[in-house]
């Protein structure tokens, strides 16, 4: 083709077409890159899940993680969680969001995300795997109760004090109950649970109070394959 400036429209069209080709391959090059982060995560031993979790569940949850990650930097911030309307209207939304973040950090990666959700896997899944000698799985009854305990324990001192209980109660009921009523509810709860007389609820006392509660049913989410 002769490139003679404005007199050769078809030459120009041809050049334009040839220019678009490499551009299009650049765009498609993006597509292959999208698979790599998941491969990295899948190779991580997500051992706290035990062997009964399926590859497709991890893939689906990774899709979910990336769709929440608006900053596209591989981690979630608190704002990313607050963007979920159903979580934002949950009275204990902030405490739940806090449970995802490790001590003192503002970002959670996929491993941390899965770790927190792992607490809610049904307990019967553990019976399928015969790993009796490994560490206690995250979704055991005891660990589920520990998760709930940590939601109350605001300062992480392994005790639920009267103040902490009041604060959490206030989150749950909003402005609909007076301070005195709330105080009496808190007092009665501590009175029933406290056995060693320190006016606070330790984890062992917490477990004792809830020994008749069907924790498996109340704190399990069925993950579909």
């Amino acid at each position: 083709m002769m490139f003679c400036g404005t007199e050769d429209p078809f030459g120009q069209l041809g050049t334009a077409v040839l220019a678009v080709l490499p551009l299009s391959f650049l765009c498609t090059g993006r597509a292959w890159g999208a698979e790599k982060p998941l491969a990295r995560h899948a190779n991580l031993s997500l051992s706290f899940f035990s062997s009964s979790v399926s590859h497709s569940q991890i893939t689906r949850l990774y899709s979910r993680f990336t769709s929440l990650d608006k900053g596209e930097n591989g981690t979630l911030s608190r704002e990313d969680f607050q963007r979920i309307p159903e979580l934002a209207i949950n009275p204990l939304g902030d405490r739940i969001i806090n449970a995802f973040f490790p001590e003192g950090e503002d970002q959670v990666n996929f491993r941390g995300f899965m770790r927190t959700l792992a607490h809610f896997r049904p307990i019967e899944d553990n019976e399928k795997s015969k790993d009796q000698n490994g560490p206690e799985p995250l979704n055991s009854r005891s660990n589920k109760l520990h998760f709930a305990f940590r939601l109350y324990d605001l300062d992480k001192d392994d005790k639920i004090s009267r103040d902490e209980l009041l604060q959490v109660l206030r989150m749950m009921v909003g402005v609909n109950i007076s301070d005195e009523q709330l105080g009496s509810i808190a007092d009665r709860t501590i009175q029933e649970a406290d056995q060693d007389g320190d006016s606070a609820i330790s984890f062992a006392e917490f477990v004792k109070v809830l020994e008749k509660v069907d924790v498996e049913q109340k704190m399990s989410i069925r993950f579909l394959h």
Partner: protein
């Protein structure tokens, strides 16, 4: 040398004239008279065959690799939600008192929302059951077979090198035509001739626009088409909705003021017909808009108003809350349901992620835009009904026709935070369960 150039020039001249004749005969004339030559239908059939073959390839490849179950990967949800209401879950040892276990209900609901929620997926593109050979939708798939890769590469070449330049030329032509024609018609004195001319100009440019996207639109129930003095409401997926509806009828538009390319088109349209434009963030504007709409429909000679009550683009899998403003005004509502076929290309405009130009590029490099438009029978607000209930009724009708789910959530959640009042509702509900018998509590030992 000079002879060569002359021959070259003559040959080019001939090719150019052939192109022009083809262009006029195959595209311009059918658009003016709104006749379909069936080329789009044929093209779409071929693309469907290719996609079905590709699906088979992927399924076979997956069986060989025993990697992941493709059907289950996308079509079902991530978790099965527990729908038991709060009252049943929070039942302590005694009715109407607080138990330390109550926190479990909230933590479970919270984590369910983190794993999968109803609202945030509506603001990004729909996931597909099977890959449609567009590179932008293959986030989770591995290399399956060489045949598939070859077809994919051929698809790229066809779409980017053959269809894209052609579509760009055609869309540039139609935008220029729109701007010129509306400027010319805008000079005419107001009257019936101007009205008729501006209608024709709008419809021709819209039809040309649909052609340049390789658009295939099926209109159903044309007898229910919106009449003068009515309000036409439809579910909103992208600016293409306007283009598609405008190719089959003339409307006055109500919409958000845009800058740039969209602003240019808006300004040209404003020259020939009455449209209502507003700024989303202006509180005062809302009352003004309502006033203008009222005046507009009172004048029976004016074109029907086209409104998208969702207020923003949703990804065509569900219909979100209809804002009650347009349902309070009175007048007949003509619902229209628009459903795109996602296999051929994603029509949804994610305005938080893509600019108009990126979106236009994506649309122009898809296979095609195939959609169904249903005109539904007109509806009127009943005497005892309030606007919110009426809006929900219309929304249910549209969703049922298009096969989409209904969500009570506000489309504005794409950009705004959810209102505090919803949280307060949840708190109130919990209170009612916990302090059912306040006086009983004080007497009994729980």
């Amino acid at each position: 040398m000079e002879e060569n150039r002359e021959d070259h020039g003559l040959a080019e001249g001939k090719i150019l004239s052939v192109w022009m004749i083809l262009f006029v005969a195959l595209i311009l004339l059918p658009s003016i008279f709104r006749v379909s030559l069936g080329i789009s239908h044929f093209y779409v059939k071929i693309v469907i065959k290719i996609l079905e073959w590709a699906t088979l390839q992927i399924e076979e490849g997956v069986k060989k690799q025993k990697a992941m179950a493709l059907e289950n990967l996308i079509s079902t949800g991530i978790i099965q939600r527990d729908e038991t209401p709060m009252e049943e879950e929070i039942v302590g040892r005694c009715q109407g008192c607080f138990s330390l276990a109550d926190i479990m209900y909230f933590s479970k609901k919270g984590c369910e929302a983190v794993a999968e929620d109803e609202v945030t997926p509506r603001f990004c593109s729909e996931e597909l059951l099977s890959w449609n050979l567009l590179s932008r939708t293959n986030a989770n798939l591995h290399h399956v077979s060489w045949k598939l890769a070859a077809v994919w590469v051929t698809g790229i070449i066809i779409r980017y090198c053959l269809l894209l330049p052609f579509r760009i030329c055609l869309s540039v032509f139609s935008v220029l035509l729109l701007v010129l024609a509306t400027t010319v018609v805008g000079q005419f004195p107001n009257g019936r001739v101007k009205g008729w001319l501006s209608n024709q100009v709008q419809m021709i440019c819209a039809t040309l626009g649909v052609r340049c996207l390789s658009g295939l639109v099926h209109f159903h129930n044309r007898e229910n088409k919106p009449q003068e003095g009515g309000i036409c409401v439809a579910n909103h997926t992208s600016p293409l909705d306007v283009l598609i509806l405008a190719s089959d009828g003339c409307y006055s538009l109500v919409g958000q003021v845009h800058g740039g390319f969209m602003g240019l088109i808006q300004k040209s349209c404003m020259q020939t017909s009455q449209h209502v434009l507003f700024e989303r963030s202006e509180m005062k504007d809302r009352h003004l808009v309502r006033k203008k709409i009222r005046e507009h429909i009172a004048d029976k000679a004016k074109l029907p108003i086209l409104i998208f009550p969702e207020g923003t683009c949703i990804n065509n899998t569900s219909v979100m809350m209809f804002k009650k403003g347009s349902f309070e005004v009175g007048g007949t509502i003509h619902p229209v349901a628009i459903k795109y076929d996602p296999r051929f290309g994603d029509a949804f405009w994610n305005s938080t992620k893509h600019s108009v130009m990126t979106y236009a590029f994506n649309v122009l490099t898809s296979w095609a835009i195939v959609c169904n438009v249903w005109y539904l029978p007109p509806m009127v607000k009943e005497e005892e009904e309030d606007a919110v209930h009426f809006a929900d009724r219309v929304k249910a009708v549209i969703a049922a026709q298009a096969g989409m789910s209904v969500l009570p959530w506000d489309g504005g959640l794409k950009r705004k935070k959810v209102k505090e009042s919803f949280k307060e509702e949840q708190q109130k509900k919990y209170c009612q369960i916990v302090i059912q018998n306040v006086s009983v509590e004080n007497r009994n030992i729980c």
